[in-house]
């Protein structure tokens, strides 16, 4: 069981569909504690990714190439904090998978660890700051601890979901939500939510 170019493309296709389907939900979550643009921005970015992957299909030779295209497209189209953060995530993920056409679980998990470290360095955030890291970090641990790829994909979605739900009572310490202080508690973090959808679409596309 491995991850190849076609499955990676399918993953990005499903994530783009997910961002379109959940756009209003993410907008509503972000309106409550931020500025209401997360769903719109992620959807705009992922629809551009979809166009770009189609237009430059021949350049997407392996999973790493696909993810680098995703990174560069998101950096130049999303804006907000999500653009550089998701851009960094996909850039590091692509670097970690470079030169391989068939990705096994240890390689996949190690690349995700690097990606999470990259996001954390760019965001200067810690766990429980009520950010996307609260879904991302537990999901990466789940990947690292699973015995095989299918189990890992399932476990990472579950861990991301738990992490996302656990952001609700937290007081935000990074990003625009932090300006609300105590008033940010009681709302689920939009960034952790889009990160959950990323792992959910990975499970759907990459499970064999």
């Amino acid at each position: 069981m491995t991850i190849d170019r076609d499955r990676t493309l399918r993953w990005m296709e499903l994530f783009a569909e997910s961002m379109a389907a959940h756009r209003q939900e993410l907008v509503a979550l972000d309106t409550a504690i931020g500025d209401g643009d997360h769903g719109t921005n992620m959807n705009r970015g992922m629809q551009k990714v979809r166009e770009k992957l189609e237009a430059a299909a021949s350049e997407q030779t392996d999973p790493s190439a696909v993810l680098k295209t995703v990174a560069m497209t998101l950096i130049s189209t999303v804006g907000g904090a999500a653009g550089p953060l998701y851009g960094t995530l996909f850039l590091e993920l692509g670097k970690g998978l470079a030169g391989q056409s068939e990705i096994d679980l240890p390689t996949y998990a190690a690349a995700w660890r690097k990606a999470a470290e990259g996001v954390q360095a760019r965001a200067k955030a810690e766990p429980n700051d009520k950010t996307m890291l609260d879904a991302l970090l537990p999901a990466v641990v789940a990947l690292e601890q699973a015995p095989d790829l299918n189990t890992a994909l399932r476990a990472s979605t579950e861990a991301a979901e738990q992490g996302m739900l656990a952001t609700t009572p937290l007081v935000a310490r990074k990003g625009r939500a932090s300006y609300l202080g105590e008033r940010s508690a009681g709302h689920q973090d939009p960034g952790a939510t889009s990160t959950f959808y990323l792992f959910q679409s990975a499970e759907q596309a990459l499970t064999s």
Partner: protein, 336 residues
């Protein structure tokens, strides 16, 4: 929701077309990536000034491009920071060999995207300095938040640093003067009504008829708290509520010379802003502050939100001199 727009997805590009039609003699507009640049940029030997941020705050930043102020502005989508490719292209477009200053409002998205752009420009051998504005006293400045937001003082930084650059100051000096303005300025804002972004179509928060939101940002974020208004003295209540924390924070002391900015959030008529200014002048006098310069109007807005913000800047001879220097932009013009 009723708005004078065509396609909600094309608001920023459509507005840029208007700016190009109206001011094309003085400004160059690019759409891929989106930026507004002084027509005569780069000015050889002059430090270039680039700012940018989400759209919806007009005239900030695009309305402040021109001699004596910014060399380029990068508009993001409504309330969304621009992307690094925009600031990178703008930086290259305005570099006259003396380096480029980025003026960045302290929001996580703006900071991250400008950081990536500065990295790209430095890799090309362009010297970049950043002035971060964070003047909003409504926000606690602690390790546990993203830090104070950049609001009204940004307008003053763009004017004063722009004048210093026009006077031939070095990259280091222009950045230092801008940082000094930020360090000596404080602001706070409030809303009578929320705003509605074209993409969401929904008000950004709810307010009862007799409530105001105190300590708002400029992106429709809710403020620090809601407060009941006192019929018969709303303007004086608001002016006191905003000015007191500003004066205590720096602090501004009796005998200080100040610049006072009473800024409209976009939907409040000028007649109300002048009523607020009268209250600001009264309260300043009570504290022994001398308002030596002032600015009243809509300069850093939040779409159609009703409300205002107040900014005080402690002046000295140098800052007053650069404030008075000629400026010729669509949004601010004197002496030129």
């Amino acid at each position: 929701m009723k708005k004078l727009i065509n396609d909600p997805e094309q608001v920023v590009a459509d507005a840029l077309r208007g700016i190009e039609s109206a001011h094309g003699d003085r400004l160059r507009v690019s759409y891929e990536p989106m930026m507004i640049v002084r027509a005569d940029a780069p000015v050889a030997g002059k430090v270039g000034l680039v700012s940018g941020g989400g759209s919806g705050h007009e005239p900030l930043h695009g309305g402040f491009v021109g001699p004596g102020m910014l060399d380029a502005a990068c508009p993001g989508e409504i309330f969304t920071s621009p992307t690094p490719d925009q600031m990178y292209e703008a930086t290259k477009a305005v570099d006259g060999g003396a380096g480029v200053v980025h003026i960045v409002k302290n929001y996580t998205g703006d900071v991250l995207n400008f950081e990536m752009a500065a990295d790209l420009a430095r890799a090309d051998g362009i010297e970049v300095e950043t002035i971060l504005t964070n003047d909003d006293v409504a926000v606690e400045d602690s390790l546990y938040t993203a830090g104070r937001r950049g609001v009204g003082v940004t307008v003053l930084v763009e004017k004063i640093a722009g004048a210093a650059a026009a006077a031939g100051k070095s990259l280091h000096d222009v950045a230092e003067i801008g940082r000094q303005v930020n360090a000596h300025g404080r602001s706070m804002g409030m809303a009578l009504t929320p705003c509605i972004t074209p993409a969401s179509g929904q008000p950004s928060f709810e307010l009862e008829d007799d409530e105001v939101e105190i300590g708002i940002g400029i992106h429709g974020e809710p403020g620090r708290f809601k407060e009941k208004i006192t019929p018969g003295r709303v303007a004086s209540q608001i002016a006191e509520r905003l000015l007191q924390p500003i004066i205590e924070d720096l602090p501004f002391n009796s005998g200080d010379r100040v610049l006072a900015l009473v800024n409209g959030m976009g939907g409040t008529p000028l007649i109300e802003l002048y009523i607020v200014y009268a209250e600001v002048a009264r309260i300043a006098a009570e504290h022994g502050l001398t308002i030596e310069r002032n600015l009243v109007g809509n300069y850093i807005t939040s779409l159609e939100m009703q409300g205002c913000s107040i900014t005080l800047l402690k002046l000295d001879d140098e800052l007053s001199h650069y404030w008075d220097a000629p400026v010729n932009t669509p949004g601010l013009r004197w002496g030129a």
